[in-house]
């Protein structure tokens, strides 16, 4: 059974159809990719699922319950975490704190507990901190824990964002153009990291334009153009699909 089911999802901006009646499934444990040329609506589609844009019609179901129209924080609480195309770390927090913040939904210590440092809050804090360290170690950035997140290299920031999104143990991870701005070597590293994450049993939905990466890692690909799904299938099928080639290379 599919973890995430998207059915006839549509969004209009004014008169413009940004996304029109797109449907697809993301099966448990898979890596699914959404690709398409610039302005095709893939980022909008992504934001509709993550809740940062409210969809107009259609349905989105996660673990068999509807998440249609929920605000982002509710979607995150359900277990769908995301990354951002242009990396949105908390620049005022250290790397470790960034990852600890990512485990917000896992904690329950409230205001009073925090202010008074009650034993329960302290225990929770210790647990979260340990988990965060584990997470950093997983991405090989353990030595950056104390550094300020704003002062890292681009690649390191990307890794911290991954760690933050994964810290709370999401069921579905949404990756928004993770390879943007990475060089070939870093992209290769990213590919192995994504594979690694999948190994932990996390389902992944990825929007990306680096074709080589997508073809390498994804199980299935959805191609959108002008807000519509024009193809869906395995990477090898997609590469052969005439429509896709036309959309990408342009018509003569």
């Amino acid at each position: 059974m599919a973890l995430l089911e998207v059915n006839n999802l549509s969004k209009f901006f004014g008169g413009l159809k940004a996304v029109s009646a797109v449907s697809f499934d993301v099966p448990q444990g898979n890596i699914k990719a959404i690709i398409g040329p610039n302005g095709a609506g893939k980022t909008t589609l992504f934001n509709l699922i993550a809740g940062s844009i409210r969809p107009d019609c259609g349905s989105v179901r996660f673990k068999n319950s509807s998440i249609f129209g929920l605000p982002p924080y509710r979607i995150a609480q359900r277990g769908i975490l995301r990354t951002f195309q242009n990396i949105k770390l908390f620049p005022n927090l250290s790397v470790l704190e960034n990852v600890m913040a990512g485990m917000h939904v896992k904690g329950r210590a409230g205001l009073a507990a925090g202010m008074l440092r009650l034993p329960q809050a302290r225990a929770e804090e210790a647990f979260i901190s340990e988990k965060a360290h584990e997470m950093l170690a997983f991405f090989n950035i353990g030595e950056l824990a104390k550094r300020n997140a704003a002062h890292l290299s681009f690649g390191q920031q990307r890794a911290v964002e991954f760690a933050r999104a994964l810290a709370s143990g999401p069921a579905l991870l949404l990756l928004d153009e993770p390879a943007a701005g990475l060089n070939t070597q870093e992209t290769a590293q990213l590919a192995s990291q994504i594979a690694h994450i999948r190994g932990k049993g996390v389902t992944i939905l990825i929007v990306e334009h680096d074709m080589s990466l997508i073809m390498d890692i994804s199980d299935e690909i959805v191609v959108v153009s002008s807000g519509q799904k024009i193809a869906e299938g395995k990477p090898s099928d997609i590469q052969r699909n005439a429509d896709v080639v036309r959309v990408y290379l342009g018509e003569e």
């Binding site: 040329p37 610039n38 302005g39 890292l152 290299s153 681009f154 920031q157 153009e177 390879a179 943007a180 701005g181 990475l182 060089n183 070939t184 070597q185 992209t187 290769a188 590919a191 192995s192 334009h209 680096d210 074709m211 080589s212 990466l213 997508i214 073809m215 390498d216 590469q239 896709v244 080639v245 990408y248 290379l249 342009g250 018509e251 003569e252």
Partner: protein
């Protein structure tokens, strides 16, 4: 016309251009193609001084311009039509065009401006019909035309176009490229950035392929069109193992 050597540029911690060298000669149409995120737009923005380069040299008509402001670059005859059009939405078409001729006004060339206006309307007849309409209410294609027309009003020696076909209907794209061809025939120098590789190479004399901030290929348009690597850059065909 323009000569670039070892240009490096980026935003914050992000290095986008990692040593780009290229040149455009007078009367040429040169295209830069590459996938999303390869650094094409950053390259043009750096050339127009919207983004400050970190190192490298840019020679415009043999004069170094690395430290110049964006206004100076325009005054030196190099106009950029930015990605996403950036027309002045709250102004009419004519007002937009008048602002395009800003440096011409500054030079006191009123007469030339009066000549230029009918000229750009002859290239883009639809704009004439929408002369007094607010630019923000135009369709995407019309806005793209307006942006190009506005840049032409400055009588640039070098016109840089950043993804003019983006988000446009196929018919519109066709029309746009016919305009580019016309400009070429009139002897304009154009640097064209496009992701629609076939269309771009179709009009260009030469082309560069940009991949992750580096030029990986260059040559005449014909050669590039047949090159397998161009296809790879777009569709990831024959993906080679990077880790090797």
């Amino acid at each position: 016309m323009i000569r670039v050597r070892n240009l490096e540029s980026g935003y914050g911690a992000l290095r986008v251009l990692k040593g780009v060298s290229l040149h455009v000669d007078k009367g040429e149409i040169v295209t830069i193609i590459g996938a999303n995120g390869a650094g094409k737009s950053t390259l043009l923005k750096t050339l127009a001084s919207i983004v400050r380069p970190r190192s490298g040299t840019i020679l415009l008509n043999r004069a170094p311009v690395v430290r110049s402001s964006a206004e100076t670059i325009v005054a030196m005859g190099c106009s950029l039509v930015p990605e996403g059009r950036h027309v002045f939405g709250a102004m009419t078409v004519v007002e937009n065009l008048a602002l395009g001729a800003y440096i011409q006004y500054k030079r006191g060339k009123k007469y030339e401006i009066e000549e230029d206006l009918p000229y750009v309307f002859s290239i883009f007849p639809t704009l004439l019909a929408r002369k007094t309409q607010l630019a923000g209410t135009l369709s995407g294609g019309e806005q793209q035309m307006l942006a190009m027309a506005r840049a032409l009003m400055a009588r640039p020696g070098l016109l840089m176009l950043d993804e003019p076909s983006m988000g446009l209907a196929p018919l519109m794209v066709k029309e746009l490229f016919s305009v580019v061809r016309r400009l070429r025939d009139e002897g304009k120098t154009i640097l064209l950035v496009e992701q629609n590789a076939k269309a771009a190479l179709g009009v260009a004399d030469r082309g560069y392929v940009l991949e992750t901030g580096r030029i990986v290929l260059e040559g005449a348009s014909r050669e590039l069109l047949d090159n397998k690597d161009v296809q790879r850059a777009y569709l990831g065909k024959e993906y080679r193992k990077i880790n090797e």
